[in-house]
């Protein structure tokens, strides 16, 4: 278990006392929790199993659970040239996440610590850009890219993903920065600490987890994006999700290959998400509403 939950649990002694003697209903609820969790992960487990069977076994009905393990699905996936799209996805996600942080941090600072006038209007503007369905801007972006020769260019996606995630990042980082106690900032000022030192010694420790969770969420959303990538890229800048959609052919069954491909493409997000579950929780609740 993760450190935060342990700490949280430790500050709640009454509950622990209550659960010290296991009751029938308690056992039942625990069983239910386990059952539902397993049900939710079952499709993914099935996908893993299927990806590890030969195409014939994968397509058997009723399913052959004990069929011999085969790496054919993975082999034929890696033979189909997935590396350029994966590299494109990595580039687009990492670079756009970096750009988001560079733009969002100063903005969040201006919106929380000594906020500008009408800060809530600015926040509303940022959020309202998320209401603007991306499809509504698709055509102009396409026409513009066509004109300046940016179609099938990974930089176009990087810019769009930055704009897609920037509002969320500003929101998250603002709520984390609001956690910095004003008194500490004032005390630092009285002590004559400069801006850089104040940022480094007082602001950074409070905000670092927020930055990590914002980055994680931006990375996930960029990695997952399909619509823009599909319309605006071709062969050179194709991303992993687009590559996946081109994967299902009408000729014959490639179920094991499709499952293997889906798993490999999901792997970076799965790994990052599992490793940083608490960051994910903090980020999604936007460090918020505390």
């Amino acid at each position: 278990m993760t450190s935060t939950t342990v700490k949280k649990a430790a500050t709640r002694p009454p509950l622990e006392i209550r659960h010290a003697k296991p009751k029938r209903s308690g056992v039942l609820l625990t069983g239910l929790a386990w059952f539902i969790s397993v049900m939710f992960v079952l499709p993914v487990v099935w996908m893993v199993l299927t990806s590890l069977h030969t195409e014939q076994d994968a397509a058997a009905n009723p399913p052959k659970l004990g069929a011999p393990i085969s790496l054919d699905g993975y082999r034929s996936f890696f033979d189909s040239g997935p590396w350029p799209p994966i590299a494109n996805s990595l580039t687009a996600s990492i670079v756009s996440t970096f750009l988001v942080l560079v733009l969002a941090l100063p903005a969040a600072y201006a919106l929380s610590i000594k906020p500008v006038k009408k800060w809530s209007d600015v926040m509303f503007f940022f959020l309202s850009t998320k209401f603007l369905p991306v499809v509504a801007g698709l055509l102009p972006v396409y026409l513009f890219a066509q004109k300046v020769n940016l179609l099938d260019n990974i930089w176009l996606l990087i810019i769009l993903y930055t704009s897609m995630n920037l509002p969320i990042a500003v929101w998250m980082l603002r709520s984390f920065l609001s956690e910095v106690p004003v008194e500490m900032l004032e005390a630092a000022q009285v002590d004559g600490a400069g801006l850089v030192r104040t940022l480094k010694e007082i602001v950074a420790p409070v905000v670092m987890p927020g930055i990590a969770s914002a980055a994680l969420i931006c990375f996930i959303f960029s990695w997952n994006e399909l619509l823009f990538a599909r319309v605006l890229t071709g062969t050179r800048a194709e991303t992993a999700p687009v590559f996946l959609t081109g994967f299902v052919t009408s000729q014959g069954l490639f179920l094991a290959k499709v499952c293997a491909a889906s798993l490999v493409v999901s792997l970076p997000v799965l790994a990052a998400g599992f490793a940083a579950q608490d960051k994910l929780v903090q980020g999604l609740s936007m460090g918020a509403v505390k």
């Binding site: 308690g26 993914v44 099935w46 733009l103 201006a110 102009p140 997000v269 799965l270 609740s285």
Partner: protein, 293 residues
């Protein structure tokens, strides 16, 4: 405050603000202009001012109206169901029990599968009538004469809702669980000692505390589900009456090359979402009522 000071405060905000205006507002202005034009890439000579023709055709076209209806249904259905299921699971996982961390890890997995991959998985590995797991399990349980259904063809919209609820429930659950764990337990304990029933505690203490978390997860979920393209595109390709507005616009623009009509549909979506969102944020939601410094 003097002028220089005010600008010094604003300066860090400007790069982000200017970037957002250029990348999101300018294209939308162009969309707005194009929505009043006759512009089909197949008929380049016919380009010109069209007045409100595109809007009339979007609002009277059976397919477009169906797409609006599907979008509303899909969004409301998916968000509501995943909120309720997510809340129940969050309550279950908030209890202390052996292996809670593992259970939570299992629970969040659906959210971490790339949406296209998840949609492919539902379509081919689970719903497929010949070799999908659902029919496979029916055969495993009932033998060779088990009923075999064509899940997607029989219930296209429900199939998409199921896949999306599976993916979004963990998202709701995570936010609500964070909310539950920030609950001040001493007050709850005091209420319990005073003889409040679990239901009373839930109604009058837990739910009010969770309210901003419920609003936040509902809002974020709605923003993303309204725009869903991946599931509709992958599972049904918009067929069988499942085309939502994003898919309808994609098709009008990308396949039919009717730029004017696609833009008008885009403007309709934006107006719709902004009306609903402003209403939700300004009246019902408490998120905007936190005090400023």
């Amino acid at each position: 405050m003097n002028k220089a000071g005010a600008w010094a405060r604003r300066a860090p905000l400007l790069p982000a603000l200017i970037f957002m205006i250029i990348v999101t507002q300018l294209p939308f202005l162009v969309t707005l202009v194009v929505s009043f034009m006759n512009w089909n890439a197949y008929y380049p000579d016919d380009r010109g001012f069209a007045g409100v023709d595109n809007f009339v055709s979007v609002l009277t076209d059976v397919n477009a109206r169906k797409a609006i209806f599907v979008t509303v249904l899909l969004t409301v259905g998916v968000v509501l169901i995943s909120l309720i299921v997510g809340l129940c699971i969050a309550l279950l996982l908030d209890r202390k029990f052996r292996g809670r961390g593992v259970a939570r890890t299992l629970m969040i997995t659906p959210f971490l599968v790339v949406p296209v991959a998840a949609a492919l998985m539902w379509k081919h590995a689970l719903f497929n009538p010949e070799y999908g797991l659902l029919n496979g399990m029916l055969k495993m349980v009932f033998g060779d004469n088990a009923p075999q259904r064509d899940w997607i063809t029989d219930n296209p919209l429900i199939s998409i809702v199921v896949a999306l609820v599976w993916q979004w429930t963990p998202f709701m659950m995570l936010i609500l669980l964070a909310g539950l764990q920030s609950r001040p337990m001493d007050v709850v304990e005091a209420a319990r000692i005073d003889g409040a029933s679990p239901w009373q505690i839930f109604r009058s203490m837990t739910l009010p505390h969770l309210r901003p978390y419920i609003e936040l997860s509902g809002l974020l979920g709605a923003i993303y589900v309204v725009q869903n393209f991946d599931a509709v595109f992958t599972i049904t390709s918009g067929g069988l009456g499942t085309a939502n507005l994003p898919y309808f616009i994609y098709q009008t623009f990308y396949t039919a090359h009717d730029y004017g009509r696609a833009s008008a549909a885009g403007v309709v979506v934006v107006i719709g979402t902004i009306i609903i969102a402003t209403f939700a944020l300004r009246t019902a939601f408490s998120l905007f009522q936190e005090d400023s410094r």
